[in-house]
C-alpha cells in the first residue's frame, strides 16, 4: 500500500494542514483512494475554498428567484409557471491545452447543468478571451475554440445566440472560454441534485468511464508550468451525440416522476456526484465501482472514481419504479445501470466486487472542505497604473484615422467570422441573434421573451477591480435593457490568477464587492456562477476578468428593438452624458499603446434610472433602435447603428444601412484630446436611440421625468457617417466603407491562420 508522504500529498495538491484536517474528519489516515476523493473535492474548482467567503456577500434573493446558488444552476420565475434556468461555466485551461475539445466539452458541461435541473436548454452564449490575432498561437486557439463551440452546440441543437470576444495580449498564454446556457422549465418540474430515501437505487447512465481527465479537477486549479505538458493525456473528447441522447432521455425520464434526484458528472466525476447528492439530501450512498460501465480494461477504483469522462449522469430512482426509468433509457439506446443505493447515515461507501475500499463521511468531502480567508493586499502598482497624463501621450491622432483604426480592432470588429459557425436559428426561438446588443429568445407558449447578454472588461478591472466589476454588471444589464429586457437575474464567472498571491486575492475581493453592489442596485440577483482561478502562465496572471451574464424579461416579445437605425430622418438621441473619459479605453490601447487611468465613473443610481427608462420607452413603442456605448465610444456606437446587422449572406458592402449625421457633445476639456475623448471615450451609462419625430417630445419628457440626461445629437439618413465636434467635421465615412472595414477585419486576420487540421 502506498505510503502517504509529502510527495503523494504534493501530487494531489493537498497542503500539510489540509491533510491534518482530513485525518481529523476521517478519524484515521485515509487510504490512497480516499485521499484521491479529497484531492478532487477539495480542489479550488470544486470547493471554492478561496472565493467562498467573498461569494457569500453577493445578493442572491429577489422576488423572482426560485433557485439561488448551490444547485447545478439557478432559476428565476418568468411567469405562467415557467422558470428560466441558467448558469455560466468556464473551460479555460482545457481550451488552452486542446482548443477544440476543451471548448466543446465546456459547452457539454454547462448544458448538462441545465437539463439536470429539468429544464430544456434553449440558448447558449459565450464570453471568450484570446491573445492578439497577430500571433499564430492565438489564431490557432481562436480557430479551435470557435470550431469546438460550434461542433458541440450545433450538433446537439441548442442555438448559440450571442456572446462577446475580446483580444488582448494578456490572454495569450491563458485564453478564457466561458459558456452560459439557459433553459426553460415548469417551476413544478425542477429537480434537484439531492439523494433521498433509504434503499432507493442509484443509477449510472451515459458514456462509459475511461481514464480521461483523471486529475482534471486538480489540474484546472493548478498554475500552468512546463510540467502541465505531462498532464496532457488528460484531454477529454466530447461526444455531442451521446449528450443529445442523454438530454432527451433525462428530460423524458423526469416526466415519469420516478426520479428522486439527478446530477451530472462533471469535474471530479463520480466522486462529486455521489458525495454531493448524498450531502445535499443528508443521506449516505453506497456504490460498487464494478458495475460502472468502463471503456478500458483494468481500471482501478481510484481511476473510476476520479475519471472525468464526459456525458455521464447519476440518478436516484424511486424504489419499485426502476423499470419505468430503464425503459426510457432503453428507448434511447442508453443502458442505465444500477451502481448502488441510498443508505442511512451520511457516509459515502465505495466497494469493488463487494469489498469496501473507501468509507468517507459525505460532508467531509463537500461542506467540510476548507474555507480560506486568504490575505489580500492592494498591488503596489495599482495606484500607479491609474495615473494618466494625456500630455505624455504625444500628439493626438486625427479622429478620422482613429475611427478607421478602431473599426478594425479585433475586439471592436464584427465577430461574424466566429458566429457564422454557430447555429443560432435552431429551436425557432431566436429573435435577436449574434450581432445584436443582447440575444433575445422567445418563450414558446407565452408572449414573452428573454434578453441575455454576457460582458466583462478585463482592462477596466485591471485598473480598478471594484469599478471594473460594477461596469461589467452595468454593461450586461444595459445591453439587456437596450433590447427591452428588464433584468431579473444574473450569473457570473470569476476569471482570476493565483489566489495564493495577496494581490490577486485583493482583486477577487474587490471585484466581488463590485458585482454585489451593482447587482443590488440594478435588481439583478446572482443565481449562480463559477470561479476559475490560477489563470496564469509562468507567473503572469491574466487581467482580472469577471464576466457577467444578465437575463432580462420582456412581457411582449414583439416590442424588442435592435441597434440598427430603421428610418430615414429619424432623430438620434443620446441618453446619458458624454463625459469623454479615456481611462482604460480601446482608444488609448490602440492609438497610444497605453493601458492606464481610472475606468469610467459609474453612478449606480443614474445607471438604474437609465435602464428603467430605456425599458419603459421600448415597452411603450417609443424608440426605433437602441444601442449602448461601450468599447470605442460614441463614434463606434453610432457607426454600428448604421451597419446592417442582419444575418443575411452578403449583408455588408452592398447593403450599407442608413447613415447618420451627428454633432457629438463635448462635456469636458481634455486639451488637444478633447475631440478624440468625445468621440472615443468610454464613459458608462450612455445609450444611443433613434426615435420617430412624432415621439421625440414624449421621449424627452420621459427622460426628464426619470432624471436621465437626453439630447438630440443628430439624424438618421444618407449613406455616410458624418460626425462633427464643436461644429468641425471629425469623422466622415461612407457607411459601406466603414462596414466593410468592420465586418472583414477578423476574417482578414484569420486568412493567415494555418487551417487547423480537421
Amino acid at each position: 500500500m502506498t505510503v502517504i508522504d509529502s510527495t503523494v500529498l504534493d501530487r494531489h495538491g493537498i497542503k500539510p494542514d489540509e491533510y491534518e484536517r482530513i485525518q481529523q474528519l476521517m478519524g484515521r489516515e485515509p487510504n490512497l483512494l480516499e485521499l484521491g476523493l479529497f484531492s478532487v473535492m477539495w480542489s479550488e474548482h470544486c470547493s471554492y475554498k478561496s472565493s467562498r467567503v467573498h461569494l457569500k456577500t453577493l445578493p442572491t434573493t429577489g422576488p423572482r428567484v426560485v433557485q439561488g446558488p448551490g444547485e447545478n444552476a439557478g432559476a428565476v420565475d418568468i411567469g405562467d409557471g415557467l422558470c428560466a434556468v441558467f448558469k455560466i461555466e468556464s473551460h479555460n485551461h482545457p481550451s488552452f491545452i486542446e482548443p477544440y475539445q476543451g471548448a466543446a466539452t465546456g459547452v457539454g458541461g454547462i448544458i448538462r447543468d441545465i437539463f439536470t435541473m429539468g429544464a430544456r436548454p434553449i440558448a447558449l452564449l459565450n464570453a471568450l478571451r484570446f491573445g492578439s490575432l497577430d500571433t499564430a498561437l492565438a489564431r490557432r486557439i481562436f480557430e479551435g475554440v470557435v470550431a469546438g463551440i460550434g461542433g458541440y452546440g450545433n450538433s446537439i441543437g441548442i442555438p448559440t445566440v450571442g456572446g462577446e470576444i475580446v483580444f488582448d495580449e494578456m490572454y495569450s498564454g491563458n485564453p478564457l472560454v466561458n459558456v452560459l446556457c439557459l433553459g426553460i422549465a415548469h417551476r413544478s418540474d425542477i429537480i434537484k441534485g439531492a439523494a433521498k430515501g433509504t434503499g432507493n437505487p442509484v443509477y449510472y447512465v451515459g458514456a462509459r468511464t475511461g481514464r480521461d481527465g483523471i486529475h482534471g479537477a486538480t489540474m484546472a486549479s493548478a498554475e500552468f508550468d512546463e510540467t502541465s505538458a505531462e498532464k496532457r493525456p488528460a484531454v477529454q473528447v466530447g461526444d455531442p451525440f451521446m449528450e443529445k441522447l442523454l438530454m432527451e432521455a433525462c428530460l423524458e425520464v423526469m416526466k415519469t416522476g420516478a426520479v428522486v434526484g439527478i446530477q451530472d458528472m462533471g469535474a471530479a466525476g463520480f466522486t462529486c456526484s455521489t458525495s454531493e447528492m448524498g450531502s445535499r439530501g443528508g443521506v449516505g450512498m453506497t456504490v460498487d465501482v464494478t458495475h460502472v460501465p468502463q471503456r478500458e480494461t483494468g481500471m482501478i477504483p481510484y481511476e473510476i472514481m476520479l475519471s472525468e469522462s464526459q456525458e455521464r449522469m447519476l440518478l436516484v430512482v424511486e424504489r419499485g419504479r426502476e423499470h419505468e426509468v430503464e425503459a426510457v433509457f432503453e428507448k434511447w439506446d442508453l443502458h442505465a445501470v444500477q451502481v448502488g443505493e441510498v443508505t442511512e447515515g451520511a457516509r459515502l461507501k465505495i466497494h469493488e466486487r463487494g469489498e469496501l475500499v473507501a468509507d468517507v463521511p459525505n460532508r467531509a468531502l463537500t461542506d467540510e472542505a476548507p474555507v480560506y480567508h486568504r490575505p489580500m493586499t492592494e498591488p503596489s502598482w495599482q495606484k500607479q497604473v491609474q495615473q494618466l497624463s494625456l500630455s505624455d501621450l504625444g500628439a493626438a491622432p486625427s479622429a478620422q484615422m482613429t475611427f478607421e483604426r478602431l473599426l478594425a480592432v479585433s475586439t471592436i470588429a464584427s465577430k461574424r467570422w466566429a458566429y457564422r459557425q454557430f447555429d443560432h436559428s435552431v429551436g425557432t426561438n431566436t429573435i435577436a441573434q449574434p450581432g445584436a446588443s443582447a440575444a433575445v429568445v422567445r418563450v414558446k407558449g407565452t408572449t414573452r421573451a428573454l434578453a441575455i447578454s454576457v460582458d466583462g472588461n478585463g482592462r477596466f478591472c485591471y485598473l480598478d477591480p471594484y469599478q471594473g466589476a460594477m461596469l461589467a454588471v452595468a454593461e450586461a444589464a444595459r445591453n439587456v435593457a437596450c433590447a427591452g429586457g428588464e433584468p431579473i437575474g444574473a450569473t457570473n464567472n470569476l476569471n482570476f490568477g493565483n489566489p495564493e498571491r495577496p494581490e490577486i486575492m485583493w482583486q477577487i475581493g474587490a471585484a466581488v464587492r463590485g458585482i454585489g453592489d451593482a447587482c443590488r442596485a440594478l435588481n439583478a440577483p446572482i443565481t449562480g456562477g463559477n470561479v476559475s482561478l490560477y489563470n496564469e502562465t509562468e507567473g503572469r496572471a491574466i487581467f482580472p476578468t469577471p464576466v457577467l451574464g444578465v437575463v432580462g424579461i420582456l412581457e411582449d416579445a414583439s416590442r424588442t428593438v435592435t441597434r440598427t437605425f430603421k428610418s430615414d430622418g429619424a432623430p438620434v438621441v443620446l441618453l446619458g452624458d458624454n463625459s469623454g473619459e479615456l481611462g482604460g479605453s480601446e482608444y488609448l490601447a490602440t492609438m497610444h499603446q497605453t493601458v492606464a487611468g481610472r475606468p469610467p465613473a459609474l453612478d449606480l443610481q443614474r445607471e438604474a434610472a437609465l435602464q428603467t427608462l430605456i425599458v419603459t420607452l421600448i415597452r411603450d413603442g417609443l424608440v426605433e433602435s437602441a444601442h449602448d456605448c461601450s468599447e470605442g465610444g460614441l463614434a463606434i456606437t453610432l457607426a454600428e447603428c448604421t451597419f446592417d446587422t442582419g444575418w443575411a449572406a452578403g449583408a455588408g458592402a452592398e447593403a450599407g444601412g442608413l447613415g447618420v449625421t451627428a454633432e457629438v457633445p463635448v462635456l469636458a476639456d481634455h486639451g488637444a484630446f478633447s475631440t478624440n475623448a468625445a468621440l472615443f471615450g468610454e464613459s458608462a451609462s450612455r445609450i444611443v436611440i433613434s426615435v420617430a419625430s412624432r415621439h421625440v417630445a414624449a421621449v424627452m419628457a420621459a427622460a426628464k421625468a426619470a432624471g436621465v440626461p437626453a439630447r438630440q445629437i443628430g439624424r438618421v439618413g444618407g449613406r455616410r457617417i458624418q460626425l462633427t465636434v464643436n461644429g468641425q467635421t471629425a469623422v466622415d465615412s461612407l457607411v459601406a466603407h466603414a462596414e466593410l472595414v468592420w465586418a472583414t477585419a477578423i476574417e482578414n486576420k484569420m486568412r493567415r491562420a494555418p487551417g487547423a487540421a480537421s
Partner: protein
Amino acid sequence: MKFAVVVFPGSNSDYDAFYAASRVVGEQAELVWHKDADLKGADAVILPGGFAHGDYLRTGAIARFSPIMGAVTAFADRGGPVLGICNGFQVLLEAGLLPGAMVRNDRIKFVSQLVPVRVEQTDTPFTAACAPQQVLQLPIAHGEGNYYAPPGVLDDIEANRQVVFRYTSPAGEPGADWNPNGSLNNIAGICNRRRNVVGLMPHPERAAELPLGSVDGRVVLASVVKALAAVSR
C-alpha cells in the same frame, strides 16, 4: 392533412418542423420515432434537420438503416410527398431516394446564415404554392451542404428539371458569391424523377414566423397542403 415528422436519434429540428406544421401552418402533425415501422397514416413526411447518429460516419449514413426508412421508402414509392430538410436531405441521398451525395462545405467551416434561394420548379408538392422563380430568404446551418453528383447524373438532374432550389443573389441571379458551400450548379435542393420526394439544405421551418426574421419558408409547408388538396379534389 397530417404530417409525420421522423425523429432519428440526433435529430434536432424535429420539434421545429412539428411546430411549424402544426402551430404555424395549422395542420395535424405527429412525431414518429425512427424505430417505428409505420407512418401513422400521414399524408406527408418530413425528415428533419439535425445530426442523426451524430453524423459520425457520414451525414445521414446510419439513419438510412432505421426501421422507419422502410415505411418512408414505400410511402415515396406510392407517390407520397416526402420532404428532407438539411440532415433529412442528406438521409434521402444516402438512402438513394434522391440522386447525388453531400461533401464538406468548400470553405470547410459550418455556415449559419440567412441566404436567398430561388424556386426553380413549382410542380413539386413542396413548391406548388410558390411563384415561378420566387426568391425565398431561408436560413442555412450546415457543415456538409456541398452537393455533388457525378457529371452524367448532374446533367440528367438538370435535364429532368430536378433542381428545385438554387442559391442566388437576393435578386435571383446565381453566382459564386452567393453559393455558401460550393454546391455544384449552386444547387440548394432537388427532387426525384417522380417529383414527390424533395430535399433541400435550407430550413423553411425556421423561417415561418415574423419574429424569426423571415416568413418565406412557410410556403414550402403550405405548398404540400395545397398540393394534397388539389389531388383529393
